[in-house]
């Protein structure tokens, strides 16, 4: 039974299944996961490599389609959308950051952050202000003309965050955002994500395999194993850590 969710609900997955064919065998990457995320919640998806956490994130991001089940995000079921509607969804509802940053190497920082607004058909005059605002938020407003290769890993991930923000999405999806960073820079990025989560009331769903990181920042920890949901944990330590900051 698919519901459109309540006012306070941001994302809900209902028995989502996604199989991959590998030769003759079928690999159940995500196998009947039901999960709900409230608006403004910060969820960490934890699990070993191959547990299906990235696949689930891609399904929520609208980059992939489930074989069965439903994904309701901000009131709309992704499973029933056309590919054009899914593109619209990726433009306006979600922002994504990746482990390997995925900036376009031939574009300057400004152009990289501007790129999503080209697809969203934002007027040129407005773009400059929005790029400026997003880069100020991540502390890179003086690096606009630089190319990704001229920036450190931390700076590149901040740029990717600015790019994810620029179309003002309601959901931020992060796939191992600190995986390619040293622990100090990783902490800076996580602090930034939490700040966005709190000040912009963005729902954050983050894939990670570092439990301490999840415990430090997420409201809720969701554990996946072999494509199935194997456990959920409300993070009670969070307040303490947050208070001690």
């Amino acid at each position: 039974m698919v519901t459109n969710g309540t006012e306070s609900e941001s994302v809900r997955t209902v028995s989502v299944v996604r199989h991959y064919k590998l030769g003759r065998s079928i690999i159940p990457a995500v196998d009947g996961v039901s999960l709900a995320a409230g608006r403004g919640e910060f969820i960490a998806l934890l699990g070993a490599s191959g547990s299906g956490k990235s696949t689930l994130l891609n399904l929520i991001a609208g980059l992939d389609r489930p074989d069965s089940g439903a994904i309701v995000a901000e009131g709309a079921d992704l499973a029933t959308m056309t590919s054009e509607q899914l593109a619209q969804y990726r433009r306006h509802v979600v922002g994504m950051v990746f482990q390997s940053f995925n900036l376009v190497p031939t574009m300057t920082l400004y152009e990289n952050v501007e790129l999503p607004m080209r697809f969203a058909e934002v007027r040129r005059r407005e773009r400059r202000a929005r790029v400026q605002e997003a880069l100020e938020r991540v502390g890179l407003s003086d690096r606009m003309k630089h190319r990704p290769s001229e920036m450190s890993g931390g700076e590149q991930q901040r740029a990717a965050l600015a790019r994810a923000l620029v179309n003002r999405p309601k959901i931020l999806l992060a796939d191992e955002p600190t995986g390619n960073l040293d622990s100090k820079t990783g902490k800076e990025i996580m602090d930034l994500i939490r700040e966005l989560n709190r000040t912009l009331e963005m729902t954050v769903i983050m894939v990670t395999h570092e439990r301490p990181l999840a415990e430090r920042y997420a409201n809720r920890l969701v554990f996946l194993g072999d494509g199935k949901l194997v456990g959920e944990l409300e993070n009670t330590k969070l307040e303490k850590i947050g208070a001690g900051r």
Binding site: N58, A61, L63, D64, S83, E84, A87, Q88, R90, R91, H92, M96, F98, Q99, S100, N102, L103, V104, T106, M107, L115, P116, R118, F119, A120, E121, R163, N167, G179, N180
Partner: protein, 481 residues
Amino acid sequence: MRAYDLIELAGRNLREAGLRNSLTTLGIGVGVASLVAMLSLGIGLQKLATRQLGRSGLFDTVVVTSRQDSRGPRFAQAAPVTAQPKPLDDAARHSFEQMANVMEVYPNFSAVGDVRLEANKGDGHFTVVGTLPQSARTSESFDDFQGTFFSAYNAPEVIILTDFGRELLDLPREPRNSDTKLTAEQANQLLGKNIVLRYHQREAGESAPLAGKVARKKGEPDPDDIDNGDAKQTEDMQTYNLVPRQLKLKIVGIVNTEPNRALRQGRTPVFLPLALAESLNMVQAGELWSTLRPSQTKTYIALIVRVAKSKAVAQVEEDIKKQGFSTFSILDASKGITKFFTFLDLFLGIFGSLALAVASLGIINTLVMAILERRREIGIMKALGASDGDVKRIFFVEAGSMGVLGGALGAGLGWTIGRVINFATNIYLQRQDIRPENFWVVSWPLVGAALAFSVFVSLFAGLYPASRAARLDPVQALRHD
């Protein structure tokens, strides 16, 4: 995605792989150039042929004869029997002149006279005298002639053939059809000088009663009247007198070959302006028929109708036939020629297109390479909200841009090749003493069509890469960090 974003992204992608895209574009350029060069040659040859034929005065000409008599060219097609036969008189001539696309209507005029230089007393040269209408000025005989054309359509002036000029100057004869012109000195002895033309004018005499009319019994058929209905009405016939005249005319031009040769029988070395000749009422060769005819009005043996463009010949011919006259034109021959050149153009076009087809494979290759290279970038764009259509359009614009640039380059290149070959051919022709010609005609419509074709071929070539790029799975593209 907005158009300027599309163009900007496509442009940036083209610049990123500058060398590869330039080479592909150059390939299209060469393809378009070969197409333009081939078609220009075809069009140039066609224009050359039709110009030569057109100037012969054959292809834009309709010869009109009356169905009432058996005079005129034997090959004239009979008019449909539906129309009432009419005399080929001034009224008919006037009605032809009023038709759309008709440039000039004139009779085939041929008289005899005696011509000498005014300065030389004594016997003149007995010769055929013809006329030239104003439209004869475009005849190729006047490409390279000495002197000028008639200053007016009724000026007391004369244009003569080079051979006749030699005769007037008592110079030795050259072999017939030799291209030798008079020297400037010899020409100056004739140009601007007066000649005296002696001829016979026809003047109407009194009516005379028909002789030998025999009284018959009532109801008995008159054997003389069987064919001639008119004679029944008129008991009298017009007589005419031949009055010798002489006229002073200024030599204004000397031509090597006879203008509008094809429409004349026999050799005519002396030409008067048409209107002047008609006003003189000279006795014409072959006019015996009309002078003996018991008609009051003047009729023509044949009228020549010059049509403004050869395309209109059929229509004019049709209209004249409807009026009840017989017509003749070489239209069918010209249709054959047009058909031949259409095939030639098609053939040359196919050859030219081959290079463009090869170039389009270059586009496909380049863009497929670009997909492999930009796999990750396409994945990123999709993750950021690019739709399949956006990705497709970016590749399309890239292919189209290469088409536009290559097309422009190719049109320029084709034009240059044409110029160079034209130039080289004409140097050769000049060495052979042949007048230079324009073999290569690059027209704006051709350039436009080549450009459009190039863009079309490029877009067609971009079809596969674009849809392949659009289908790219972003999850796959972004995997393997």
